[in-house]
Symmetry: C2
Subunit: 402 residues, 2 copies
Amino acid sequence: MAELFKAFTVEDARAALARHLPVKKQGLKLPVLESLGCRLAAEVRATEDVPGFDRSTMDGYAVRARDTYGATESLPSYVDISGEVLMGQKPPGRLGAGQAWRIATGGMLPAGADAVVMVEYTEKLDESTIGITRPVAPGENIVRKGEDVSAGEVVLPAGHRIRPQDLGMLSSIGVTEVEIIPPYRVGIISTGDELVNPSERPAPGQVRDINSYTLFGAVKACGGEPRLYGIVRDEYDELKSVLELALQENDMVLLSGGSSVGTRDVASKVIDSMGKPGVLFHGISVKPGKPTIGAMVKNRPVFGLPGHPASTMVVFELLVAPLIRSGSYPVSEKESLIEFPLLAEITRNIRSAAGREDFIRVRLLSQDGRLIAEPVLGKSGLINTMVQSRRPGLHTRWERRG
Amino acid sequence: MAELFKAFTVEDARAALARHLPVKKQGLKLPVLESLGCRLAAEVRATEDVPGFDRSTMDGYAVRARDTYGATESLPSYVDISGEVLMGQKPPGRLGAGQAWRIATGGMLPAGADAVVMVEYTEKLDESTIGITRPVAPGENIVRKGEDVSAGEVVLPAGHRIRPQDLGMLSSIGVTEVEIIPPYRVGIISTGDELVNPSERPAPGQVRDINSYTLFGAVKACGGEPRLYGIVRDEYDELKSVLELALQENDMVLLSGGSSVGTRDVASKVIDSMGKPGVLFHGISVKPGKPTIGAMVKNRPVFGLPGHPASTMVVFELLVAPLIRSGSYPVSEKESLIEFPLLAEITRNIRSAAGREDFIRVRLLSQDGRLIAEPVLGKSGLINTMVQSRRPGLHTRWERRG
């Protein structure tokens, strides 16, 4: 029956798949404003300095720093107001010794000036003279030409996922179009004689399809493009023809079990009939998630995910999500199980069997600034355990418990 | 000039705005598959039990538990294989004493049975008899009718943001359409005589507009619907007519400074001319982010955000993001500054001035399972400090430093 294959660890499973990765995608050009959340196909370099000139970071007066040295409240340095910098314009001329020009935040520093005195540290003597009550050093209250970005600098690396501030960065250097890696297209096939569509009323013995819809959301949440192929009976020819179609139209296919042995056996036979290398592993030493199939068919990953809703989500997070997010698995195996681990205190002890990794659903709470993880107990067949969890996958590995 | 108003704390600012909140939105019906990331306008109740019948969670045999009591490997309990449950079908008849029916994971338990024996704990004697080598208790390896969801139960509360597993939950109870709160429409106006569009080449004294694009991304990342109104000069009539249009077409408007005093003064005059209550505060005791304007005009929040890119993002996170995400501020002020605080170890000491809250940009690293926050130093006028930060807003409040 099922577990003829050696049960792989998550690391074994990733390594077996990694020999056939990454899943490569042709780049696609997009306007910057449409690129939020996309990954860059190539690095972006600045072709000019930002800012293009020395700029004031305060409202006040542009000066020569040396004219302010020694200034105090009781003995201010007096300078002449002899010019004004208008926003967005080049200052008309050069600032001379003993002079101060009015300047606002963001204004261009006049030639000859090397610092800005904040308006708070000046007192107006008359219309044309101010006293400076505190000295400034050269460069004070100024952003230098090229201080934010220098011409030639790589501002964003290839593979980077574009965040809001990156849109600002790209705009600042005049980039209005970027080449991105298009989202992974992921076909989702539900298998199982007991399943009906959500819109149908299940007869005794039938249940509605849960996993297709959970996976649809999970793929989307990772930045992928999910496509549903409906429910397929546990029948070799039917599954084969739907799988072939899904492989033509997508970069990756998920078979959402069918929790029974029968379903899994049909799935693995169909996959193996479609070309090399076919099934790479069948069964992983993870709870929940043991009856997982991993395969490569026609250069595309195919996963047979377990039927229990919680198991499907855990295995999705471990083996499928990294591929959709980046086309490959993280290189550091140590940190890779969960991409950005959150440390939390667990509210009760949990034991795990030797040689198996257990993933416990938890509810995350914030108490007095500490993160508390409260295990959500319940069978992995219950979707409600996932709904009550903030995120799947607190990772308790037996070896670490000593 | 500017800071005539008392500088508000973040809590003061939220309280002043909260008197005019929440921003209410009419519900909108959507197919479940399009609702990922949306917030529910009303709670969702189950109208039936899930599953609708007792189900097996294992591949094995349905039995009466009492027929297995006392079974051991050396002295198995023998029972007759007298039926089979087909997936998706009602078992044909009733299981009697001393009987076992073949059943797969997910199969419907026959009447008369109260437990399932895993196939691993059975040995086949002949075609019609098995020996059970380990006893089961009533209910073992079974999910009971209604154990996942009971008819009448609230499965998702109003206001809940829909995650992948919630799509599965909704499907399981036959809900194919949900009523959601439509995304907040947010108008974004850039002000400042020094700004040009990203596609233009800045002349000396000019810089490209960064904040419109950063805010566009930030609004989207919170689930809002951003709309750009371009760059407006620091001119009363021009700003007023664009702001009026933006207020008609959106639920909220962001004026992205214009970092100079001149810009801020024009903005606050225009806002105050448009109706009560107008400007609620002008200046908050936060670094970066001090020159922030908060207002309510025509029942819509209007924010004048500071011109420096880092300041804009910090203030956005503190005052704007919660409104886009949920229409109001979290009730618990204690935890509200950052919605889900992450605890990390900072790599160096940072001091803050008394009576001011400092927000330090950090790079988050994961080292040996610990979160490390490495401050990204640099002026708040540099977009690059945000690009190098994993997230804005490690919160170091002076009072806490003792």
